[in-house]
Symmetry: C2
Subunit: 306 residues, 2 copies
Protein backbone atom coordinates (compact mmCIF):
# COMPACT_ATOMS: atom_id res chain seq x y z
CA UNK A 1 0.00 0.00 0.00
CA UNK A 2 1.34 3.46 -0.88
CA UNK A 3 2.69 5.30 2.16
CA UNK A 4 1.16 8.74 2.68
CA UNK A 5 3.47 11.48 3.94
CA UNK A 6 1.87 14.55 5.49
CA UNK A 7 2.37 17.41 7.92
CA UNK A 8 -0.17 19.32 10.01
CA UNK A 9 -3.57 20.80 9.27
CA UNK A 10 -3.58 24.36 7.85
CA UNK A 11 -0.43 23.51 5.86
CA UNK A 12 2.31 26.11 5.80
CA UNK A 13 5.39 25.86 3.60
CA UNK A 14 7.22 23.29 5.76
CA UNK A 15 4.11 21.09 6.07
CA UNK A 16 3.63 21.27 2.29
CA UNK A 17 7.26 20.97 1.18
CA UNK A 18 8.68 18.46 3.67
CA UNK A 19 6.18 15.72 2.69
CA UNK A 20 7.24 16.23 -0.94
CA UNK A 21 10.90 15.90 0.06
CA UNK A 22 10.34 12.79 2.14
CA UNK A 23 8.09 11.09 -0.42
CA UNK A 24 10.87 11.64 -2.98
CA UNK A 25 13.37 10.05 -0.58
CA UNK A 26 11.13 7.06 0.11
CA UNK A 27 10.39 6.47 -3.59
CA UNK A 28 13.81 7.15 -5.04
CA UNK A 29 16.33 6.17 -2.40
CA UNK A 30 14.55 3.69 -0.13
CA UNK A 31 12.34 2.11 -2.84
CA UNK A 32 9.22 2.54 -0.70
CA UNK A 33 6.17 3.59 -2.72
CA UNK A 34 5.04 6.89 -1.22
CA UNK A 35 3.17 10.06 -2.01
CA UNK A 36 2.85 13.41 -0.27
CA UNK A 37 -0.54 14.59 0.96
CA UNK A 38 -2.03 17.72 2.50
CA UNK A 39 -4.51 18.05 5.36
CA UNK A 40 -5.97 21.25 3.97
CA UNK A 41 -5.43 24.07 1.50
CA UNK A 42 -1.79 25.25 1.63
CA UNK A 43 -1.06 28.90 2.42
CA UNK A 44 -0.07 31.41 -0.26
CA UNK A 45 3.66 31.01 0.37
CA UNK A 46 3.39 27.23 0.01
CA UNK A 47 1.44 27.71 -3.23
CA UNK A 48 4.21 30.05 -4.46
CA UNK A 49 6.75 27.28 -3.73
CA UNK A 50 4.77 24.70 -5.71
CA UNK A 51 4.36 27.12 -8.60
CA UNK A 52 7.98 28.33 -8.62
CA UNK A 53 9.47 24.82 -8.63
CA UNK A 54 6.73 23.36 -10.87
CA UNK A 55 5.79 20.77 -8.24
CA UNK A 56 2.40 19.06 -8.31
CA UNK A 57 0.10 20.15 -5.54
CA UNK A 58 -0.33 17.11 -3.29
CA UNK A 59 -3.81 15.68 -2.88
CA UNK A 60 -5.79 17.04 0.06
CA UNK A 61 -7.06 14.26 2.32
CA UNK A 62 -9.57 14.54 5.14
CA UNK A 63 -8.77 11.40 7.12
CA UNK A 64 -6.74 8.19 6.95
CA UNK A 65 -8.05 4.65 6.78
CA UNK A 66 -7.27 2.01 9.40
CA UNK A 67 -3.80 0.52 8.82
CA UNK A 68 -2.92 3.10 6.13
CA UNK A 69 0.91 3.37 6.19
CA UNK A 70 1.81 6.98 7.00
CA UNK A 71 4.82 9.11 7.77
CA UNK A 72 4.09 12.19 9.89
CA UNK A 73 6.30 15.24 9.45
CA UNK A 74 6.44 18.69 11.09
CA UNK A 75 4.12 17.79 13.99
CA UNK A 76 3.57 15.15 16.64
CA UNK A 77 0.29 16.61 17.87
CA UNK A 78 -2.80 14.43 17.33
CA UNK A 79 -4.99 17.59 17.37
CA UNK A 80 -3.21 18.72 14.18
CA UNK A 81 -3.60 15.35 12.45
CA UNK A 82 -6.44 13.27 10.95
CA UNK A 83 -8.98 12.03 13.49
CA UNK A 84 -8.14 8.37 12.79
CA UNK A 85 -4.35 8.80 13.04
CA UNK A 86 -3.84 6.37 15.93
CA UNK A 87 -5.49 3.60 13.88
CA UNK A 88 -3.19 4.21 10.93
CA UNK A 89 0.11 2.37 10.55
CA UNK A 90 2.49 5.16 11.60
CA UNK A 91 5.86 4.25 10.07
CA UNK A 92 7.92 7.28 11.09
CA UNK A 93 7.73 10.74 12.63
CA UNK A 94 10.13 13.55 11.71
CA UNK A 95 9.51 16.73 13.65
CA UNK A 96 11.01 19.78 15.33
CA UNK A 97 8.29 20.71 17.84
CA UNK A 98 7.98 19.88 21.51
CA UNK A 99 6.71 16.41 22.34
CA UNK A 100 2.99 16.80 23.00
CA UNK A 101 1.95 13.25 23.82
CA UNK A 102 -1.09 11.51 22.43
CA UNK A 103 0.29 9.75 19.38
CA UNK A 104 0.64 6.00 19.83
CA UNK A 105 2.20 3.42 17.58
CA UNK A 106 1.62 -0.33 17.37
CA UNK A 107 5.30 -1.16 17.43
CA UNK A 108 8.72 0.47 17.50
CA UNK A 109 9.13 2.95 14.62
CA UNK A 110 11.59 5.56 13.38
CA UNK A 111 11.23 8.86 15.18
CA UNK A 112 13.62 11.75 14.77
CA UNK A 113 12.95 15.04 16.50
CA UNK A 114 15.54 17.76 16.74
CA UNK A 115 15.41 21.32 18.03
CA UNK A 116 16.10 22.81 14.60
CA UNK A 117 14.07 25.53 12.90
CA UNK A 118 12.81 23.35 10.07
CA UNK A 119 11.79 19.76 9.37
CA UNK A 120 13.57 19.92 6.01
CA UNK A 121 16.89 20.53 7.78
CA UNK A 122 16.44 17.31 9.74
CA UNK A 123 15.63 15.51 6.48
CA UNK A 124 18.81 16.87 4.89
CA UNK A 125 20.80 15.33 7.75
CA UNK A 126 19.06 11.96 7.42
CA UNK A 127 19.34 11.87 3.62
CA UNK A 128 23.08 12.54 3.90
CA UNK A 129 25.10 11.47 0.89
CA UNK A 130 21.93 10.62 -1.04
CA UNK A 131 21.38 14.39 -1.40
CA UNK A 132 23.57 13.93 -4.50
CA UNK A 133 20.61 12.23 -6.23
CA UNK A 134 18.08 14.94 -5.36
CA UNK A 135 16.68 16.85 -8.35
CA UNK A 136 16.48 20.66 -8.33
CA UNK A 137 12.72 20.90 -7.77
CA UNK A 138 12.95 18.89 -4.54
CA UNK A 139 15.99 20.87 -3.43
CA UNK A 140 13.98 24.02 -4.15
CA UNK A 141 11.18 22.81 -1.89
CA UNK A 142 13.72 22.08 0.85
CA UNK A 143 15.29 25.54 0.57
CA UNK A 144 11.87 27.22 0.62
CA UNK A 145 10.89 25.34 3.77
CA UNK A 146 14.03 26.46 5.60
CA UNK A 147 13.76 30.11 4.51
CA UNK A 148 10.10 30.06 5.51
CA UNK A 149 10.54 28.53 8.96
CA UNK A 150 13.56 30.70 9.77
CA UNK A 151 12.00 33.85 8.24
CA UNK A 152 15.22 34.11 6.22
CA UNK A 153 17.31 33.40 9.35
CA UNK A 154 15.64 36.18 11.37
CA UNK A 155 13.66 33.89 13.66
CA UNK A 156 15.33 33.00 16.98
CA UNK A 157 14.58 29.36 16.20
CA UNK A 158 17.27 29.49 13.49
CA UNK A 159 20.32 27.30 14.13
CA UNK A 160 23.70 27.16 12.41
CA UNK A 161 22.60 23.86 10.89
CA UNK A 162 19.52 25.42 9.27
CA UNK A 163 21.69 28.19 7.83
CA UNK A 164 24.38 25.85 6.55
CA UNK A 165 21.84 23.60 4.81
CA UNK A 166 20.05 26.58 3.22
CA UNK A 167 23.31 28.09 1.97
CA UNK A 168 24.40 24.75 0.52
CA UNK A 169 21.06 24.27 -1.27
CA UNK A 170 21.00 27.85 -2.57
CA UNK A 171 24.51 27.52 -3.94
CA UNK A 172 23.71 24.25 -5.67
CA UNK A 173 20.55 25.80 -7.18
CA UNK A 174 22.14 29.14 -8.10
CA UNK A 175 19.55 30.96 -5.99
CA UNK A 176 20.16 34.40 -4.47
CA UNK A 177 18.59 33.99 -1.03
CA UNK A 178 17.52 37.64 -0.37
CA UNK A 179 15.83 37.93 -3.78
CA UNK A 180 14.09 34.58 -3.49
CA UNK A 181 13.01 35.10 0.15
CA UNK A 182 11.52 38.49 -0.80
CA UNK A 183 9.37 36.73 -3.43
CA UNK A 184 8.29 34.12 -0.87
CA UNK A 185 7.36 36.69 1.75
CA UNK A 186 5.48 38.80 -0.80
CA UNK A 187 3.43 35.72 -1.66
CA UNK A 188 2.79 35.02 2.02
CA UNK A 189 1.83 38.66 2.61
CA UNK A 190 -0.81 38.67 -0.08
CA UNK A 191 -3.77 37.81 2.09
CA UNK A 192 -6.31 40.06 0.39
CA UNK A 193 -8.38 37.13 -0.84
CA UNK A 194 -8.94 35.65 2.63
CA UNK A 195 -11.85 36.35 4.97
CA UNK A 196 -11.15 37.43 8.55
CA UNK A 197 -12.06 33.98 9.85
CA UNK A 198 -9.66 32.42 7.34
CA UNK A 199 -6.86 34.76 8.44
CA UNK A 200 -7.44 33.86 12.09
CA UNK A 201 -7.14 30.17 11.27
CA UNK A 202 -4.37 30.33 8.65
CA UNK A 203 -1.39 29.64 10.91
CA UNK A 204 -2.99 28.83 14.19
CA UNK A 205 -2.43 26.33 16.97
CA UNK A 206 -4.42 25.68 20.11
CA UNK A 207 -2.75 25.68 23.48
CA UNK A 208 -4.10 25.31 26.98
CA UNK A 209 -2.70 27.77 29.50
CA UNK A 210 -3.88 27.46 33.11
CA UNK A 211 -7.07 25.73 32.06
CA UNK A 212 -7.95 28.24 29.32
CA UNK A 213 -7.91 27.26 25.64
CA UNK A 214 -6.12 29.74 23.38
CA UNK A 215 -6.06 29.71 19.60
CA UNK A 216 -2.67 31.29 19.03
CA UNK A 217 -2.62 32.67 15.50
CA UNK A 218 0.42 34.11 13.78
CA UNK A 219 0.47 36.00 10.49
CA UNK A 220 4.00 36.50 9.21
CA UNK A 221 4.08 39.33 6.71
CA UNK A 222 6.29 41.92 5.08
CA UNK A 223 3.23 44.14 4.85
CA UNK A 224 1.72 44.36 8.34
CA UNK A 225 -0.40 47.36 7.40
CA UNK A 226 -2.46 45.28 5.00
CA UNK A 227 -3.49 43.08 7.94
CA UNK A 228 -3.70 45.79 10.61
CA UNK A 229 -5.94 47.88 8.35
CA UNK A 230 -8.48 45.11 8.92
CA UNK A 231 -8.04 44.94 12.70
CA UNK A 232 -11.61 45.96 13.57
CA UNK A 233 -13.07 43.28 11.33
CA UNK A 234 -10.53 40.74 12.63
CA UNK A 235 -11.43 41.47 16.26
CA UNK A 236 -15.12 41.30 15.42
CA UNK A 237 -14.59 37.83 13.91
CA UNK A 238 -12.72 36.45 16.92
CA UNK A 239 -15.62 35.43 19.21
CA UNK A 240 -17.30 33.32 16.53
CA UNK A 241 -14.01 31.65 15.51
CA UNK A 242 -13.16 30.91 19.15
CA UNK A 243 -16.61 29.48 19.81
CA UNK A 244 -16.65 27.29 16.68
CA UNK A 245 -13.19 25.93 17.48
CA UNK A 246 -13.89 25.32 21.17
CA UNK A 247 -11.40 27.95 22.33
CA UNK A 248 -11.77 30.68 24.95
CA UNK A 249 -9.77 33.33 23.12
CA UNK A 250 -8.03 34.01 19.84
CA UNK A 251 -4.65 35.70 20.11
CA UNK A 252 -3.57 37.16 16.76
CA UNK A 253 0.09 38.08 16.42
CA UNK A 254 0.91 39.98 13.21
CA UNK A 255 4.64 39.34 12.74
CA UNK A 256 6.49 42.02 10.79
CA UNK A 257 9.24 39.93 9.21
CA UNK A 258 11.41 42.85 8.08
CA UNK A 259 11.16 44.96 11.26
CA UNK A 260 11.39 41.88 13.51
CA UNK A 261 8.45 42.68 15.77
CA UNK A 262 4.92 41.45 16.37
CA UNK A 263 1.69 43.37 16.85
CA UNK A 264 -0.83 41.64 19.11
CA UNK A 265 -4.50 42.54 18.74
CA UNK A 266 -6.24 43.42 22.02
CA UNK A 267 -10.00 42.94 21.62
CA UNK A 268 -10.84 42.68 25.35
CA UNK A 269 -9.57 42.85 28.93
CA UNK A 270 -8.63 39.16 29.00
CA UNK A 271 -6.28 39.62 26.05
CA UNK A 272 -4.91 42.77 27.63
CA UNK A 273 -4.06 40.88 30.81
CA UNK A 274 -2.40 38.10 28.81
CA UNK A 275 -0.31 40.63 26.87
CA UNK A 276 0.83 42.50 29.97
CA UNK A 277 1.58 39.39 32.05
CA UNK A 278 3.23 37.47 29.24
CA UNK A 279 5.36 40.13 27.57
CA UNK A 280 5.84 42.79 30.29
CA UNK A 281 4.27 45.55 28.22
CA UNK A 282 1.68 48.17 29.05
CA UNK A 283 -1.36 48.06 26.77
CA UNK A 284 -3.19 51.31 26.10
CA UNK A 285 -5.12 50.75 22.86
CA UNK A 286 -6.45 47.83 20.86
CA UNK A 287 -3.04 46.72 19.65
CA UNK A 288 0.37 46.39 21.27
CA UNK A 289 3.76 46.12 19.60
CA UNK A 290 6.10 43.41 20.91
CA UNK A 291 9.64 44.20 19.75
CA UNK A 292 11.74 41.19 18.68
CA UNK A 293 8.87 38.69 18.98
CA UNK A 294 8.84 36.46 15.88
CA UNK A 295 8.48 32.84 17.01
CA UNK A 296 5.35 31.26 18.47
CA UNK A 297 7.35 28.19 19.46
CA UNK A 298 10.28 29.90 21.08
CA UNK A 299 8.96 33.26 22.27
CA UNK A 300 5.17 33.26 22.49
CA UNK A 301 4.07 29.89 23.86
CA UNK A 302 6.76 29.54 26.56
CA UNK A 303 5.82 33.00 27.92
CA UNK A 304 2.03 32.88 27.82
CA UNK A 305 0.40 33.59 31.18
CA UNK A 306 -3.22 34.24 32.03
Amino acid sequence: MTTLVFGHKSPDTDSTGSPIVWAWYLNTVLNVEAKPALLGEPNTEALFMLDHWKLDKPEIISDVADDQPVVIVDTNNPAELPANINNADIRAIIDHHKLVGGLETKGPIHIVMEPLACTATIMWKIIGKDMAQMPDDIKGAMLTCILSDTLEFRSPTTTQEDKAVAWSLAESLGIDIPTYAAQMFAAKSDVSSFSEAELLRMDSKEFEIDGKQFRVSVLETTSPASVLDRKDALMAAMPAVAKEDGADEVLLFVVDILNEEATLLIPNDMTKTVAEKSFGVTVTGDTVVLPGIMSRKKQIIPNLKV
Copy 2:
Protein backbone atom coordinates in the same frame (compact mmCIF):
# COMPACT_ATOMS: atom_id res chain seq x y z
CA MET B 1 22.91 21.35 37.05
CA THR B 2 24.13 17.80 36.40
CA THR B 3 21.99 16.00 33.83
CA LEU B 4 20.62 12.67 35.04
CA VAL B 5 20.46 9.85 32.51
CA PHE B 6 18.19 6.92 33.27
CA GLY B 7 16.10 4.13 31.77
CA HIS B 8 12.98 2.44 33.07
CA LYS B 9 11.93 1.11 36.46
CA SER B 10 12.97 -2.48 37.24
CA PRO B 11 16.24 -1.88 35.41
CA ASP B 12 17.45 -4.62 33.12
CA THR B 13 20.86 -4.62 31.45
CA ASP B 14 19.97 -2.07 28.72
CA SER B 15 18.35 0.30 31.23
CA THR B 16 21.43 0.02 33.46
CA GLY B 17 24.16 0.09 30.78
CA SER B 18 22.76 2.60 28.29
CA PRO B 19 22.60 5.43 30.86
CA ILE B 20 26.27 4.75 31.67
CA VAL B 21 27.14 4.90 27.96
CA TRP B 22 25.20 8.10 27.36
CA ALA B 23 26.49 9.85 30.51
CA TRP B 24 30.03 9.06 29.31
CA TYR B 25 29.19 10.59 25.90
CA LEU B 26 27.69 13.72 27.45
CA ASN B 27 30.62 14.22 29.84
CA THR B 28 33.49 13.32 27.56
CA VAL B 29 32.40 14.24 24.05
CA LEU B 30 29.70 16.89 24.46
CA ASN B 31 31.13 18.49 27.64
CA VAL B 32 27.75 18.31 29.37
CA GLU B 33 28.02 17.35 33.04
CA ALA B 34 25.98 14.17 33.43
CA LYS B 35 25.64 11.08 35.56
CA PRO B 36 23.75 7.81 35.11
CA ALA B 37 20.99 6.86 37.55
CA LEU B 38 18.77 3.86 38.22
CA LEU B 39 15.07 3.76 39.05
CA GLY B 40 15.40 0.61 41.10
CA GLU B 41 17.68 -2.31 41.88
CA PRO B 42 19.23 -3.68 38.65
CA ASN B 43 18.67 -7.34 37.76
CA THR B 44 21.33 -9.99 38.24
CA GLU B 45 22.59 -9.77 34.65
CA ALA B 46 22.99 -6.00 34.94
CA LEU B 47 24.90 -6.49 38.21
CA PHE B 48 27.16 -9.00 36.43
CA MET B 49 27.87 -6.36 33.76
CA LEU B 50 28.81 -3.75 36.37
CA ASP B 51 31.03 -6.23 38.17
CA HIS B 52 32.69 -7.63 35.04
CA TRP B 53 33.60 -4.22 33.63
CA LYS B 54 34.33 -2.68 37.06
CA LEU B 55 31.74 0.03 36.55
CA ASP B 56 30.30 1.92 39.51
CA LYS B 57 26.71 1.06 40.24
CA PRO B 58 24.70 4.20 39.47
CA GLU B 59 22.77 5.82 42.29
CA ILE B 60 19.17 4.67 42.66
CA ILE B 61 16.74 7.59 42.61
CA SER B 62 13.05 7.53 43.49
CA ASP B 63 11.87 10.69 41.75
CA VAL B 64 13.16 13.78 39.94
CA ALA B 65 12.88 17.40 41.07
CA ASP B 66 11.09 20.08 39.05
CA ASP B 67 13.32 21.35 36.23
CA GLN B 68 15.96 18.64 36.80
CA PRO B 69 17.70 18.15 33.43
CA VAL B 70 17.22 14.53 32.37
CA VAL B 71 17.86 12.26 29.41
CA ILE B 72 15.48 9.31 29.16
CA VAL B 73 16.74 6.13 27.53
CA ASP B 74 15.18 2.74 26.73
CA THR B 75 11.58 3.85 27.36
CA ASN B 76 9.14 6.62 26.50
CA ASN B 77 6.43 5.38 28.85
CA PRO B 78 5.56 7.69 31.76
CA ALA B 79 4.31 4.66 33.75
CA GLU B 80 7.90 3.32 33.75
CA LEU B 81 9.42 6.66 34.79
CA PRO B 82 9.51 8.84 37.93
CA ALA B 83 6.13 10.30 38.92
CA ASN B 84 7.34 13.88 38.41
CA ILE B 85 8.90 13.26 34.98
CA ASN B 86 6.74 15.75 33.08
CA ASN B 87 7.90 18.54 35.41
CA ALA B 88 11.55 17.71 34.81
CA ASP B 89 13.55 19.35 32.03
CA ILE B 90 13.61 16.48 29.53
CA ARG B 91 16.59 17.14 27.26
CA ALA B 92 16.52 14.04 25.07
CA ILE B 93 14.88 10.66 24.60
CA ILE B 94 16.66 7.68 23.02
CA ASP B 95 14.49 4.61 22.75
CA HIS B 96 13.56 1.55 20.73
CA HIS B 97 10.02 0.85 21.96
CA LYS B 98 6.69 1.80 20.47
CA LEU B 99 5.54 5.38 21.07
CA VAL B 100 3.18 5.21 24.03
CA GLY B 101 2.15 8.83 24.44
CA GLY B 102 2.04 10.68 27.72
CA LEU B 103 5.47 12.28 27.91
CA GLU B 104 5.44 16.00 27.25
CA THR B 105 8.30 18.43 26.87
CA LYS B 106 8.39 22.18 27.38
CA GLY B 107 10.14 22.83 24.06
CA PRO B 108 11.62 21.00 21.08
CA ILE B 109 14.20 18.42 22.17
CA HIS B 110 16.32 15.65 20.69
CA ILE B 111 14.39 12.42 20.25
CA VAL B 112 15.71 9.39 18.44
CA MET B 113 13.70 6.22 18.31
CA GLU B 114 14.57 3.37 16.00
CA PRO B 115 13.17 -0.13 15.62
CA LEU B 116 16.44 -1.78 16.69
CA ALA B 117 16.81 -4.44 19.37
CA CYS B 118 18.82 -2.28 21.76
CA THR B 119 19.17 1.33 22.88
CA ALA B 120 22.95 0.95 22.91
CA THR B 121 22.92 0.21 19.17
CA ILE B 122 21.16 3.54 18.53
CA MET B 123 23.75 5.27 20.72
CA TRP B 124 26.58 3.68 18.75
CA LYS B 125 25.09 5.20 15.58
CA ILE B 126 24.75 8.65 17.16
CA ILE B 127 28.22 8.59 18.71
CA GLY B 128 29.70 7.71 15.33
CA LYS B 129 33.38 8.57 14.93
CA ASP B 130 33.61 9.53 18.61
CA MET B 131 33.46 5.79 19.39
CA ALA B 132 37.25 6.04 18.92
CA GLN B 133 37.45 7.83 22.29
CA MET B 134 35.34 5.30 24.19
CA PRO B 135 37.21 3.34 26.91
CA ASP B 136 36.88 -0.43 27.19
CA ASP B 137 34.60 -0.44 30.25
CA ILE B 138 31.98 1.66 28.44
CA LYS B 139 32.34 -0.46 25.30
CA GLY B 140 31.85 -3.50 27.50
CA ALA B 141 28.59 -2.07 28.85
CA MET B 142 27.43 -1.39 25.30
CA LEU B 143 28.22 -4.93 24.15
CA THR B 144 26.48 -6.43 27.19
CA CYS B 145 23.34 -4.37 26.49
CA ILE B 146 23.16 -5.63 22.91
CA LEU B 147 23.78 -9.27 23.77
CA SER B 148 21.16 -9.00 26.52
CA ASP B 149 18.43 -7.37 24.45
CA THR B 150 19.03 -9.68 21.48
CA LEU B 151 19.47 -12.78 23.66
CA GLU B 152 22.75 -13.30 21.80
CA PHE B 153 21.03 -12.59 18.45
CA ARG B 154 18.30 -15.21 19.05
CA SER B 155 15.47 -12.74 19.64
CA PRO B 156 13.40 -11.83 16.56
CA THR B 157 13.94 -8.17 17.47
CA THR B 158 17.59 -8.56 16.40
CA THR B 159 18.58 -6.51 13.36
CA GLN B 160 21.70 -6.60 11.20
CA GLU B 161 22.70 -3.30 12.79
CA ASP B 162 22.59 -4.75 16.30
CA LYS B 163 24.72 -7.68 15.17
CA ALA B 164 27.25 -5.54 13.33
CA VAL B 165 27.71 -3.22 16.32
CA ALA B 166 28.09 -6.14 18.75
CA TRP B 167 30.65 -7.87 16.53
CA SER B 168 32.61 -4.65 16.16
CA LEU B 169 32.64 -4.05 19.93
CA ALA B 170 33.55 -7.66 20.70
CA GLU B 171 36.44 -7.56 18.26
CA SER B 172 37.75 -4.31 19.68
CA LEU B 173 37.50 -5.74 23.22
CA GLY B 174 38.89 -9.19 22.37
CA ILE B 175 35.70 -10.80 23.70
CA ASP B 176 34.45 -14.20 22.54
CA ILE B 177 30.71 -13.60 22.28
CA PRO B 178 29.43 -17.15 23.00
CA THR B 179 31.60 -17.48 26.12
CA TYR B 180 30.70 -14.02 27.42
CA ALA B 181 26.98 -14.37 26.66
CA ALA B 182 26.91 -17.70 28.51
CA GLN B 183 28.30 -15.93 31.60
CA MET B 184 25.69 -13.18 31.25
CA PHE B 185 22.80 -15.61 30.91
CA ALA B 186 24.04 -17.70 33.83
CA ALA B 187 23.99 -14.54 35.95
CA LYS B 188 20.48 -13.68 34.74
CA SER B 189 19.31 -17.26 35.41
CA ASP B 190 20.43 -17.25 39.02
CA VAL B 191 17.15 -16.14 40.54
CA SER B 192 17.30 -18.31 43.66
CA SER B 193 17.57 -15.32 45.99
CA PHE B 194 14.36 -13.69 44.77
CA SER B 195 10.89 -14.15 46.24
CA GLU B 196 8.01 -15.15 43.97
CA ALA B 197 6.62 -11.60 44.04
CA GLU B 198 10.06 -10.25 43.06
CA LEU B 199 10.29 -12.70 40.17
CA LEU B 200 6.84 -11.66 38.93
CA ARG B 201 7.91 -8.01 38.92
CA MET B 202 11.51 -8.41 37.76
CA ASP B 203 10.99 -7.80 34.03
CA SER B 204 7.38 -6.81 33.85
CA LYS B 205 5.34 -4.25 31.96
CA GLU B 206 1.67 -3.38 32.21
CA PHE B 207 -0.51 -3.37 29.13
CA GLU B 208 -4.21 -2.81 28.65
CA ILE B 209 -5.89 -5.26 26.30
CA ASP B 210 -9.60 -4.77 25.62
CA GLY B 211 -10.11 -2.90 28.87
CA LYS B 212 -8.24 -5.46 31.02
CA GLN B 213 -4.93 -4.60 32.71
CA PHE B 214 -2.24 -7.24 32.28
CA ARG B 215 1.12 -7.34 34.02
CA VAL B 216 3.14 -9.11 31.34
CA SER B 217 6.20 -10.60 33.01
CA VAL B 218 9.07 -12.26 31.21
CA LEU B 219 11.88 -14.26 32.78
CA GLU B 220 14.65 -15.00 30.31
CA THR B 221 16.73 -17.91 31.51
CA THR B 222 19.06 -20.66 30.43
CA SER B 223 17.68 -22.72 33.31
CA PRO B 224 13.88 -22.73 32.97
CA ALA B 225 13.53 -25.67 35.36
CA SER B 226 14.79 -23.57 38.26
CA VAL B 227 11.84 -21.21 37.71
CA LEU B 228 9.25 -23.80 36.71
CA ASP B 229 10.05 -25.86 39.81
CA ARG B 230 8.50 -22.94 41.69
CA LYS B 231 5.40 -22.66 39.50
CA ASP B 232 2.88 -23.46 42.26
CA ALA B 233 4.32 -20.79 44.54
CA LEU B 234 4.52 -18.33 41.60
CA MET B 235 0.86 -18.90 40.68
CA ALA B 236 -0.12 -18.56 44.33
CA ALA B 237 1.64 -15.18 44.46
CA MET B 238 -0.05 -13.80 41.34
CA PRO B 239 -3.38 -12.56 42.77
CA ALA B 240 -1.69 -10.44 45.46
CA VAL B 241 0.85 -8.99 43.00
CA ALA B 242 -1.90 -8.18 40.50
CA LYS B 243 -4.02 -6.54 43.17
CA GLU B 244 -1.18 -4.45 44.62
CA ASP B 245 -0.17 -3.26 41.16
CA GLY B 246 -3.71 -2.48 40.01
CA ALA B 247 -3.70 -5.21 37.35
CA ASP B 248 -6.34 -7.81 36.53
CA GLU B 249 -3.93 -10.63 35.71
CA VAL B 250 -0.25 -11.50 35.76
CA LEU B 251 1.02 -13.37 32.71
CA LEU B 252 4.38 -14.99 33.40
CA PHE B 253 6.37 -16.12 30.37
CA VAL B 254 9.47 -18.16 31.23
CA VAL B 255 11.67 -17.75 28.16
CA ASP B 256 14.12 -20.58 27.55
CA ILE B 257 16.94 -18.70 25.81
CA LEU B 258 18.79 -21.78 24.54
CA ASN B 259 15.76 -23.74 23.31
CA GLU B 260 14.05 -20.60 21.95
CA GLU B 261 10.63 -21.18 23.48
CA ALA B 262 8.50 -19.74 26.26
CA THR B 263 6.44 -21.47 28.93
CA LEU B 264 3.37 -19.55 30.02
CA LEU B 265 1.90 -20.25 33.45
CA ILE B 266 -1.86 -20.92 33.45
CA PRO B 267 -3.25 -20.24 36.92
CA ASN B 268 -6.92 -19.82 35.89
CA ASP B 269 -9.49 -19.93 33.08
CA MET B 270 -8.89 -16.31 32.10
CA THR B 271 -5.20 -16.98 31.44
CA LYS B 272 -6.11 -20.16 29.58
CA THR B 273 -8.40 -18.21 27.28
CA VAL B 274 -5.71 -15.59 26.69
CA ALA B 275 -3.15 -18.29 25.85
CA GLU B 276 -5.45 -20.12 23.43
CA LYS B 277 -6.75 -16.98 21.69
CA SER B 278 -3.38 -15.25 21.50
CA PHE B 279 -1.08 -18.08 20.50
CA GLY B 280 -3.36 -20.65 18.86
CA VAL B 281 -2.44 -23.39 21.33
CA THR B 282 -4.55 -25.85 23.31
CA VAL B 283 -3.99 -25.65 27.04
CA THR B 284 -4.43 -28.83 29.07
CA GLY B 285 -2.47 -28.28 32.28
CA ASP B 286 -1.18 -25.35 34.32
CA THR B 287 1.57 -24.47 31.85
CA VAL B 288 1.76 -24.28 28.09
CA VAL B 289 4.87 -24.23 25.89
CA LEU B 290 4.96 -21.60 23.12
CA PRO B 291 7.61 -22.63 20.59
CA GLY B 292 9.70 -19.77 19.16
CA ILE B 293 8.23 -17.11 21.47
CA MET B 294 11.07 -14.98 22.89
CA SER B 295 10.11 -11.33 22.55
CA ARG B 296 7.44 -9.53 24.57
CA LYS B 297 7.68 -6.52 22.24
CA LYS B 298 7.54 -8.34 18.95
CA GLN B 299 5.68 -11.59 19.65
CA ILE B 300 3.70 -11.39 22.88
CA ILE B 301 2.15 -7.91 23.10
CA PRO B 302 1.08 -7.61 19.43
CA ASN B 303 -0.74 -10.98 19.71
CA LEU B 304 -2.44 -10.66 23.10
CA LYS B 305 -6.20 -11.17 22.96
CA VAL B 306 -8.72 -11.58 25.76
